[in-house]
């Protein structure tokens, strides 16, 4: 009697662990069969990767924040702000492109510092703190841009960042690959990464081990903020303009990816590699919808459902891990 039950359980826990990867392949398989000329081509493959790059960068940063045990809801707004600010600094203030980018990345870090200080020192729940700071960022965005998109005076030097290619690979993909590798090494292969994981696993024990928990949490928010800014900058570069709400939608996509990722390979634990898989699932899904010419509302349906599904899978895999 107990034997089949435990077999079922093993099957379920395997499904929870590898289900996301399986889902990715099934989805790609279906699209390949239904659209053999459009989906399974090298060009489309690069296209999917390119579209996934920006999501991956912002979701990678968010992953670090969730690993330390905090949520960051300000990243979408921070990305929008970064896009507006970087184009504005270049077009209106006449700053050189590299300087503007560095300043805007710094701004993202600063948003992270503020988030982190509010969460650790004022002990405000991170959902509320980052929602509040995110809204403040929206305010700053409008204050700077007066709500109008910044289109005029954006030089080619800036738009070429996203549009350029290295050996045929879009720059976005290269930047994403470098960043994701760096984040993976940071989290999995450095002492700081161990501290990051320890703080997420048990903050009290981490503190008693001599880890400076507050600093690690602030670091998590900084990484999330900088990555969000980078996404915003690359988005503005590819659009050729800074639009006040351009990056907002990345928030949900990033969360869906991060939670899908936590249900991948590890039992409900957040990790960078998982987030990559999560981003790919969403990107492939969107790509398929676009190829079949689905109406815009399907994108929202897909994204909403995938977010719920992701969180559900994540807690299910944790549940089976504890069994």
């Amino acid at each position: 009697m107990p034997k089949p039950a435990s077999k079922n359980r093993i099957a379920l826990s395997l499904l929870a662990k590898y289900g996301t990867i399986l889902g990715l392949f099934i989805m790609a398989g279906i699209f390949s069969v239904l659209a053999p000329n459009a989906f399974p081509t090298f060009g489309n493959f690069l296209n999917v990767l390119n579209q996934a790059s920006l999501s991956m960068i912002i979701a990678g940063g968010l992953t670090v924040a969730v690993i330390v045990g905090e949520l960051d809801l300000s990243i979408g707004y921070a990305a929008s702000y970064a896009g507006v600010l970087v184009t504005g600094l270049i077009a209106n203030q006449g700053l050189p492109v590299p300087l503007a980018i560095i300043l805007v990345l710094g701004c993202g870090g600063l948003i992270g510092v503020v988030n982190g200080l509010i969460v650790t020192k004022a002990r405000v729940n991170s959902v509320i703190a980052t929602l509040g700071i995110g809204t403040v960022v929206v305010g700053l965005n409008f204050a700077y841009s007066t709500g109008a998109p910044i289109v005029a005076g954006v030089p080619d030097a800036f738009t070429q960042i996203a549009l350029g290619r290295i050996w045929g690979v879009p720059n976005d993909v290269v930047i994403m690959a470098l960043l994701v590798t760096a984040l993976w090494i940071l989290v999995e292969r450095t002492p700081v990464g161990q501290s990051i994981q320890a703080v997420g696993a048990n903050p009290v024990a981490a503190r008693l081990c001599g880890i400076r928990v507050d600093r690690i949490k602030i670091l998590g928010f900084i990484i999330a903020g900088v990555c969000a800014s980078l996404t915003g900058i690359l988005l503005a570069s590819s659009l050729g303009s800074g639009t006040t709400g351009a990056g907002d939608s990345y928030l949900l996509a990033a969360f869906a990816a991060v939670f899908l990722g936590s249900a991948t390979l590890r039992d409900g634990e957040f990790h960078i590699l998982g987030t990559c898989i999560g981003v790919l699932i969403i990107a492939v899904g969107f790509n398929g919808l676009a190829i079949f010419g689905a109406a815009t509302f399907y994108q929202y349906l897909f994204q909403g459902v995938i977010l719920i599904l992701a969180v559900g899978l994540s807690s299910l895999s944790r549940y089976f891990a504890e069994k």
Binding site: P2, I185, R189, T190, P191, V192, G193, Q194, S195, Q197, A198, A201, N202, V204, A205, A206, R207, L208, C209, G210, I211, R212, D267, E269, A321, E322
Partner: protein, 506 residues
Amino acid sequence: MSEAPFVSVRGLQKHFGGIQALKGVDLDILPGEVHGLVGANGAGKSTLIKVLAGVEKPDAGSLSIDGVEVQLSGSQQAADLGLSFIHQELNLVPCWNALENIMLGAPKRTRLGVVDWRAIRGQVQPVADKVGIQFSLTAPVARLSPAEKWLISICRALVRKARLISMDEPTASLSIRESENLFRIVRALAGEGVAVLYVSHRLDEIMDLCHRVTAFRDGRSVMQSERATLTRKQLLEAIVGGEAPVPAHHPIPYDSSRPPLLRVSQLVSGHSVQEVSFDLQKGEVLGLTGLVGSGRTELVRIIFGADKPDSGTMTLEDRAYSPGSPADAVNLGVGFVPEERRAEGLFAGKSVAFNLTIANLLDLRIQPWLPLLDGRRRAGMAKEIGSRLRVKAASIDTLVDHLSGGNQQKIVIGKWLVRNPKLLILDEPSRGVDVGARAEIHGIIRELVAQGMSVIVISSEAEELPELCDRVLVMAEGKIVQELRGETITRDAIVHASYHRTASAV
């Protein structure tokens, strides 16, 4: 007590993953008896209790209540059959008051459907009087002492007409006087026909209190015996399997000419620490004891940098020492093993290697200028401590969640060993640890001291300190009221000193 057993367990088996937690367990609990259940950590006591509570389903074997075989479908059915369980972590809702906690899950309602507090009070009050509750039933549970929480838990069981109450390590967080009160209640319950399953590592209590004793070892019931025909030695051997380890300790005489490692002077923190001064020498085991609330925990928190004192100074190796955080303390060579090891010491969901190396991350860098983890050194470090502490785990990559309680505790202590701190503070190092693991932990402490480390041990168990310490400081009401050295460290002296101050203050 020759009646038919109330609960009868036969050939119970249960496995979790690859681990066979119960390999065939028999147990009879008679009505109105106090039945002691002993065994090393991981011997299967908790698994048996989970099966009885209806939380886990057994793989094989039978459970009979009043001679009728039952298959428990859940905890509600177990409760309906009169089985009640008080876990070590007392599942009480902290912000609720005693009444609400007692009635949790079984509220009485008026005809209008609202909770009928008057009827509840009427039902609870007599039970509360019986177990000797003298505090207000409407005060939030968070403000009550551990002993008072125990009384509430017992009350909850009785209100539900429990016929068997299982108590897991009931005296672990109680003072001696509170424990004696609990024993009185347990005996009274037994007198009224309620059976008590008394799970404890404290063999003195088992020998004092129980009518019969069952010993588990390695997932089997290896002994069931009448207390009257049982010796302490037999009991120990049943638990350990073979000859019991004999603790031998020769305290190092205190020599005031040796250089002190830590010097604490005139430390004050609110009411809990009042003008405390003492020295700790290099290579010394200093015991710190006193009743709950005597200020010992607060004192240690200051030494470890978790709290800041109002006034007073400390020196570590003759240098001013005022850690602003535990991280400062760790950097200066102080380690801390917290009392709540699972909650405050263990990283669940992480591997053995992760847990063993987390306090020593900087040593794992490939080079100081290349802050990447050296995987091989990390594995070597984890393996070395693992074998030194005889941690039983499939590999260093096993998640700590899958280890037994005793092994988890070794890991929490183990993470400090590679670091070789100058001072290691252990809060209740053998709480909830079986006899064998306790002897091992004491062995580890002595080994560390032999290498020149100084150790502060906090313990509520008056028996533990004489086995371990060179010197003992007894605290009461925030002050050090007695210093015991060498041969004068005895259980009686410690108990006497603990109560001395309180008695004179009354």
